[in-house]
Each structure stands twice: as structure tokens, then as C-alpha cells.
């Protein structure tokens, strides 16, 4: 330090040094003059980086390690981002703002944001004087502007807008913040994260809350008992206060909240608001009356829950409505379910059959057997009472009827045809035979049924040719002979004569039987029009 003499001036020289290898990084902390910050008055201070912006920039790191990770996920994500041209800015810790807390919890809080463009064209240096008189210059790394943070409560943007609209009307400005404080209290202390997510939901739901209160209550009651955790949807805010203070209080709070929220900007509930809401079915009458009627009648009788059988039965019921009443009656009488009772029923039915237009025991038996199979489900209104109870009684032990009920639709159709036939053909003996055979053939598929009727009825169709049946529709040797005597016929013609509908045989059977008959008859052959005709001479 050399001092040069001068008359009224004194100059001093100092050496300036720029220390190398300092680990310290110098930064400027700038305060606003209006804040009247006096650093020397600080007793204690804490400072840290404000990392709240990390998730904006940083990719949400999904779990590292094995669980939940995919092979090559990172590369794929990167490639994807490149393809779409998404440029994510890096999260630089250096550029994050500072949070400075002075004098502990009760003291002031400052937020220091980095000022950009400081070191671009010129550098700032801090000159400090060392004890030896020399100056040391340090370059400034960053400039942070510190602003004090408000500790008092503030309105959110939405609230502020609302208040702004009412500024001419509101006289008592203190009440604004008071209301807000009250609202906050209701929502609970640890509301921070939920406020954001629920805020939007709540606002929407509040409009509909009046109408929804009832339903939501129910849900809430269930919720309380089942799980403690908050669920999404309308119960959010409600369940929380509820948990704290019981149902009544909760409801009261709900209402209060609603009132409080009235002062906020609410959506009016428009028409479409209630569209997607799910309502309990308790109040809805959706089932058809008929069904309901039937169901009720049944349920009145028995408190037993409906089994699958009964359910299928009721289905069939409606189908079978078209059937004759008589048959219905038969069914009821028959309905005792087991195989032996089946047979006894059949006997009974034969007596009951006298009601029908065609009477013949065989017919009746066969008919009853088949009808029993088919008719299990269907019931008239009147007969249902007894039928129902008897049926339920017999339910457990009737596999045969079960199978019948499942194939009922087919049977129904078949039986319809039969009926038609029955009415048409008249009360001759041929009809029972026809019917019996027909029924037998139609019951071929029902395994449990075939033994019963077959046991009863006279010989099977294959042996039918020797049956002393008196129907000219029957495929008998006599009939064939008659035809062949009258005029020569081809096999086709013969077949046409013995239509499967009328003889009750399948086409194959007809063919077989016819072949056998012809063998026996050994008719003479004649070729007419290039076709082989058979004929007999008496």
C-alpha cells in the first residue's frame, strides 16, 4: 500500500486479487427497499431450495427396480418423446428459487427467485477488503430477488373474483375472510391435497346435492361401516366431517357447507346434471306386470328362494299360456313328480282324459305321459296355487321333469301339432294309434320318457307292420297289397302313399318297412316310362 502525496488529495493503492480455487460460490440476495430488511437484526435464518417445481419438469420416476418396471421402458419412452418432438426442460437445481426463513417459525419468510441474464454480457464481482488491505474479487454466480411471503390468509383466485363482483354491495369486509376461515375449519386441517382434487368435484356436486342428499346418505351410511378411507364421488367432503362427528353432525355440516358455498361461485344444476347418476332400484317398478303377478302369487305361497328350476319354470309359464286349459288341468293333477307317481298319474289322467274330445286309453296314457313331460311348468292362474305348492314339494325329486322342462319348447311345438292332428282326425282308433306312434317318435329324444310310454303302448313302430292297426294310413302289408292290385306303382308312389306324417314313422323306417313288405309280397315288375313299377294281380 503506497501512498502518494498530494496537496489536498490522498491516493492509496491496493492490490487486487482474484483468489483461485475457492469452493465458495457467491450470490447476491436482493431485497426490496420497501421491505425494510435489516440483516443485522436477524438472530437465526434458514434457507433451502424450493423443490416444488420438480414434478413439472422431471419425469415422474416410476419405481426403479424390479417390480412394476418393463424391460426397455426408458428407451421406449425417450424414443416416443423424440418422435413427437416433446422437449422437456431439465430440472436444474441451481435455478430453483430459495426459501428463506428468518427467526424461526414465527419470523418472516422470503422467496428468492433467480434473476436471469445477469452473467450474460458483464460479470459482477464482489470486492472485499482483506485485513492486509488488499482487495479480493469474487465473481458473482447468481442474483436472487427475495420477496417476503404473506402469512395471512388470502383469497384464492375464484374467491377473489367473486368478491370483486360484490364489492359495491359488501360493506363489512372483515366478514369475507371470516367466512373463508369457517369454511376451512369445516373441511378439516389436512385438507391440502384434497382441496385441489375435491374442489372441482364438490362444486359440481353441490348443485345437485339437494336432490341427492337422500341417496348420498345411504351410500355414506354404507361407507362408514365398510371402509374408513375416503372414496371418490360425492361423499368426499361429507364423509370426512362425518367421520369426525357422526351422521347428524355430518348432515348439519353438509348443509352449512352448502350455505357457505352459496357465496362461492357455484354452477347451477342444469338439466343434464343428474343423467349419469345411479339410483337404487328400490323405488323402480321395472318388471312386467304379468311377471310380477305370477311371481307374487308364487312367492306368497312359499318363502323359499327361487331355484333355477323354478326360474326356468316361470319362463316356460308364459310360453305355455297358449296351451289348452284341459292340459293344464291334467298337469296339475299329474304333478307329483316321481316316476311311479307318474304312472299312477297317467292312470288318473286317462280318466281325466275323458274331458278331451278324443278318448282312448292308450291315447290318454301316451298323451298324459307326454304332457306331463311338457306341462310341468305351465300353469293357469287358477291352478297355480295348488300346482305351485305341489310342484315345489315335488321339486327335489324330479329329474325327469327337469329334463322335460328344458326341452319343453320343443315339446310344446310337438304337442301343438299333435293337438291339431287330434282335433282333425277325429275320435277313431286310428288317431290314438297315430298319436301314440307320433308321440312315441317325438319322445324318442326324451330318454326318461320313452320307457314309460313304450312300456305302456303296444309294439314299437318297427314292428308296427304286424300290428293289428286299422288305419289305412298305416304302413301294412295289406295296404301295400291293395295299392299294388289297383294299379302298378313305383316305390316312390308307394312312399308317397305312406307319408311319414300320417303313419308316424320316420322316412327311414318307412323305407325299411316298405322294403320288407315288398319282399314278402314279391310283386311283379313292369317298366313303364323307364321306371320300375310294381304290380300285383289278384
Amino acid at each position: 500500500m503506497a501512498s502518494l502525496g498530494g496537496s489536498s488529495s490522498s491516493s492509496t493503492e491496493y492490490i487486487v486479487r482474484v483468489p483461485k480455487n475457492t469452493s465458495k460460490k457467491y450470490s447476491i440476495m436482493a431485497f426490496n427497499s420497501g421491505d425494510k430488511v435489516n440483516c443485522s437484526s436477524w438472530t437465526q435464518a434458514r434457507m433451502e431450495r424450493d423443490m416444488s417445481n420438480r414434478r413439472m419438469y422431471g419425469v415422474e420416476e416410476t419405481e426403479e427396480g424390479a417390480a412394476g418396471s418393463e424391460f426397455g421402458k426408458k428407451q421406449r419412452e425417450e424414443a416416443r418423446r423424440k418422435k413427437f418432438g416433446i422437449v422437456t426442460r431439465e430440472f436444474k437445481v441451481e435455478d430453483q428459487p430459495w426459501i428463506l426463513k428468518v427467526n424461526g417459525k414465527a419470523g418472516k419468510r422470503f422467496k428468492g427467485t433467480k434473476k436471469g441474464g445477469v452473467t450474460e454480457n458483464a460479470s459482477y464481482y464482489i470486492f472485499t477488503q482483506c485485513p492486509d488491505g488488499a482487495f479480493e474479487a469474487f465473481p458473482v454466480n447468481g442474483w436472487y430477488n427475495f420477496v417476503p411471503q404473506a402469512k395471512h390468509r388470502t383469497l384464492t383466485a375464484e374467491e377473489a373474483e367473486e368478491e370483486w363482483g360484490r364489492r359495491n354491495k359488501v360493506v363489512n369486509h372483515f366478514s369475507i375472510m371470516l367466512q373463508r376461515r369457517l369454511r376451512e375449519q369445516e373441511r378439516g386441517p389436512d385438507d391440502d391435497d384434497e382441496e385441489g382434487e375435491k374442489g372441482g368435484k364438490k362444486k359440481k356436486k353441490k348443485g345437485g346435492r339437494g336432490g341427492d342428499l337422500r341417496i348420498h346418505d345411504l351410500e355414506d351410511d354404507l361407507e362408514l361401516s365398510s371402509d374408513e378411507s375416503d372414496s371418490s364421488g360425492g361423499e368426499d367432503g361429507d364423509s370426512k366431517p362425518k367421520k369426525k362427528g357422526g351422521d347428524v353432525k355430518g348432515k348439519g355440516k353438509k348443509k352449512k357447507k352448502k350455505r357457505g358455498s352459496d357465496s362461492e361461485a357455484n354452477e347451477d344444476s342444469d338439466d343434464g346434471d343428474f343423467e349419469g347418476l345411479e339410483v337404487d332400484y328400490m323405488s323402480d317398478e321395472s318388471s312386467s306386470e304379468e311377471e310380477a303377478g305370477e311371481e307374487k302369487a308364487k312367492s306368497n305361497k312359499e318363502a323359499v328362494p327361487k331355484g333355477i328350476d323354478e326360474a326356468s319354470e316361470s319362463e316356460e309359464e308364459s310360453e305355455e299360456e297358449k296351451q289348452n286349459e284341459e292340459e293344464g288341468k291334467e298337469e296339475e293333477e299329474e304333478e307329483e313328480g316321481k316316476k311311479t307317481p307318474v304312472q299312477t298319474k297317467k292312470k288318473r289322467d286317462s280318466s281325466g282324459e275323458s274331458d278331451t274330445s278324443e278318448d282312448s286309453d292308450i291315447d290318454g296314457e301316451a298323451a298324459s305321459a307326454l304332457f306331463m313331460v311338457k306341462r310341468t311348468p305351465p300353469k293357469r292362474g287358477g291352478g297355480r296355487g295348488s300346482g305351485g305348492s305341489s310342484r315345489t314339494g315335488s321339486r327335489p325329486g324330479t329329474p325327469s321333469i327337469d329334463s322335460a322342462s328344458t326341452s319343453n319348447t320343443l315339446r310344446a311345438a310337438a304337442s301343438k301339432l299333435e293337438q291339431g292332428k287330434r282335433h282333425v282326425v277325429g275320435g277313431s282308433s286310428e288317431s290314438p294309434a297315430a298319436k301314440r306312434l307320433k308321440m312315441e317318435s317325438s319322445s324318442m329324444a326324451v330318454t326318461t320318457q320313452s320307457p314309460a310310454p313304450s312300456g305302456k303302448s303296444t309294439p314299437q313302430p318297427p314292428s308296427g307292420k304286424s300290428t293289428p292297426s286299422s288305419s289305412d294310413v298305416q304302413l301294412t302289408e295289406e295296404a301295400v297289397r291293395r295299392y299294388l292290385i289297383r294299379k302298378p306303382m313305383t316305390t316312390k308312389d308307394l312312399l308317397k302313399k305312406f307319408q311319414t306324417k300320417r303313419t308316424g314313422l320316420s322316412s327311414e323306417q318307412t323305407v325299411n318297412v316298405l322294403a320288407q313288405i315288398l319282399k314278402r309280397l314279391n310283386p311283379e315288375r313292369k317298366n313303364v316310362n323307364d321306371k320300375m313299377h310294381f304290380y300285383l294281380t289278384e
Binding site: 498530494g6 489536498s8 488529495s9 490522498s10 491516493s11 492509496t12 493503492e13 491496493y14 492490490i15 487486487v16 486479487r17 482474484v18 483468489p19 483461485k20 469452493s23 465458495k24 460460490k25 457467491y26 450470490s27 447476491i28 440476495m29 436482493a30 431485497f31 426490496n32 427497499s33 420497501g34 430488511v37 435489516n38 440483516c39 443485522s40 436477524w42 437465526q44 435464518a45 434458514r46 434457507m47 433451502e48 431450495r49 423443490m51 426403479e64 427396480g65 424390479a66 417390480a67 412394476g68 418393463e70 424391460f71 426397455g72 428463506l100 426463513k101 454480457n121 458483464a122 460479470s123 459482477y124 464481482y125 464482489i126 470486492f127 472485499t128 482487495f135 474479487a137 465473481p139 458473482v140
Partner: protein
């Protein structure tokens, strides 16, 4: 998460005063070249009837410029730099430092602000001219290309890249089925690293034919057709042992 660093307030308490000086870029560059103790120059303060004139003189050895290229050899950095002093004004400026160990300490308060200006002379003008030349050079340049860029290509029987690829594939040959147990071990170790795998990735990892690999996978793993991890394979629940990222040896 991070604990708040206690700020060392000794500087503030002592009311250490510092100067904040704005220095031109070229000068800062020269200062960075300082050697030894770091001496860069001399600061001269002349107090004249209340006013103070501060000027800085750059050390001789630091006047040679090298930053601006060949031309810089002829030009030297000016040596005299008068300081312009300002008051701090309304702002309260404090200086704090941060060490590499994340220790924050308050160094002091700024009492004077200054601007370092170069003395206007011939030398400086030349320097400035040089700087302007450098900065006015356009960043984008137009070059002439020897071959034009086009999207029309002549038809080729087989592309070069394709041919090479096929050759490579042939050289590798078909993948041989390894022992079943071995493959399973490979799979288990692979699944230790990641939970979900694409079948293609597994083929790459195990070098097994796809059908064979699928067979084994059906035994020990399950296929996710829907969900977040779309069409991926993962181990069956009974084989899994994931615990928040920790790796465990899976049972067979």
C-alpha cells in the same frame, strides 16, 4: 425432504461492507487467467476533497488477449479502468455464499456499487472493433453442396443394408433350444430385473426360438393382454417376490 441449512450470519452481524463491481466481459476473462496468488492488478483510490476517484490498473502480463483469435495478437487489453461509483440506493443487497458442502453463510452487505469502465483510447477502440467483427458474423452459413438432396431413388433389387442384415442373420443361424431348466433360470434372472417383458425382448435375452420359449413361459408366467403393461409377460404370482424394488431369489 432437505433439511434447511442454517445460515451463518456472522457477516451480517459484523456488517461487513463489500463492493459490487460490474466488470466488462473481456476484463473478466483476463482476470480468470491470473496465475499464482491471483494478483490481477492494482486499485487506486484518490480522495479529492470529498470525492473519491477509483481506478483500476490491470497488470501487464494480463494484457495479452487470446480469446479473440489470431487478430487479437495485435491488440492489447487496455490497462486503465476508472471505476464509476454508485450508491446502493433503495435496495438492500446482501451477499451470501454457498459451499460445495451446501453450507450457506452471509458474507456481508453491499455498501458501494461500481462500474469498471475501460479508459477510452486507441487500444480499446481496436479491441472493440474486433469484438464487433466477431459478433456480427452470422451464425448461419450458406455452403454449396456437392451432391443435391433428393428423394428419388433408383430401384434396387435388394438394398445394401438389407443384404447385410440377411447375411448377418444367416451367420447367426437359427436359435438352438437350450435345456429347459437352463432357460427357466435365464428367465428367472431376467424377471428379477424387470417385472414385465415383451416376448421379443425375452427372445433376445434368452436366444431361444419363440415357440419353445412360449411353452416355457406358459408354465411359469402369465400374459397380460390388457392393462397398462399391454402385451407383456410376467411371472405367475406364486413365483414373484417383488418387494418395493428389492431383489429376491425366486422360488422355482
Amino acid at each position: 425432504m432437505s433439511e434447511k441449512t442454517e445460515v451463518d450470519l456472522t457477516g451480517a452481524k459484523q456488517n461487513t461492507g463489500v463492493w459490487l463491481v460490474k466488470v466488462p466481459k473481456y476484463l473478466a476473462q483476463q482476470w480468470a487467467k491470473a496465475s499464482g496468488k491471483g494478483e490481477i492488478g492494482k486499485l487506486k483510490i484518490v480522495k479529492k476533497q470529498g470525492k473519491a476517484d477509483v481506478s483500476f490498473t490491470l497488470n501487464e502480463d494480463l494484457t495479452s488477449l487470446s480469446a479473440l483469435g489470431e487478430k487479437a495478437a495485435s491488440v492489447r487489453a487496455p490497462r486503465d479502468h476508472p471505476f464509476t461509483m454508485h450508491s446502493v440506493g433503495g435496495q438492500t443487497l446482501a451477499v451470501f455464499t454457498e459451499t460445495s458442502a451446501d453450507k450457506i453463510s452471509l458474507e456481508g452487505m453491499v455498501v458501494q456499487r461500481a462500474e469498471c469502465r475501460p479508459a477510452v483510447n486507441e487500444n480499446y477502440m481496436k479491441l472493440k472493433k474486433l469484438q464487433i467483427e466477431v459478433s456480427t458474423k452470422p451464425q448461419r452459413l450458406t455452403e454449396q453442396m456437392d451432391r443435391a438432396v433428393t428423394n428419388n431413388f433408383k430401384p434396387v433389387a435388394n438394398h445394401v443394408a438389407n443384404v447385410e442384415y440377411e447375411k448377418k442373420k444367416k451367420a447367426e443361424g437359427r436359435m438352438v433350444r437350450a435345456d429347459r431348466q437352463q432357460v427357466m433360470d435365464m428367465l428367472f434372472s431376467a424377471f428379477e430385473k424387470h417385472q414385465y417383458y415383451n416376448i421379443k425382448d425375452l427372445v433376445e435375452v434368452t436366444k431361444q426360438p419363440v415357440t419353445y420359449l412360449k411353452e416355457i413361459l406358459r408354465e411359469i408366467g402369465v400374459y397380460n393382454a390388457k392393462g397398462t403393461h399391454k402385451s407383456t409377460w410376467e411371472l405367475k404370482p406364486e413365483y414373484r417376490h417383488y418387494q418395493g424394488g428389492e431383489e429376491e431369489i425366486k422360488s422355482d
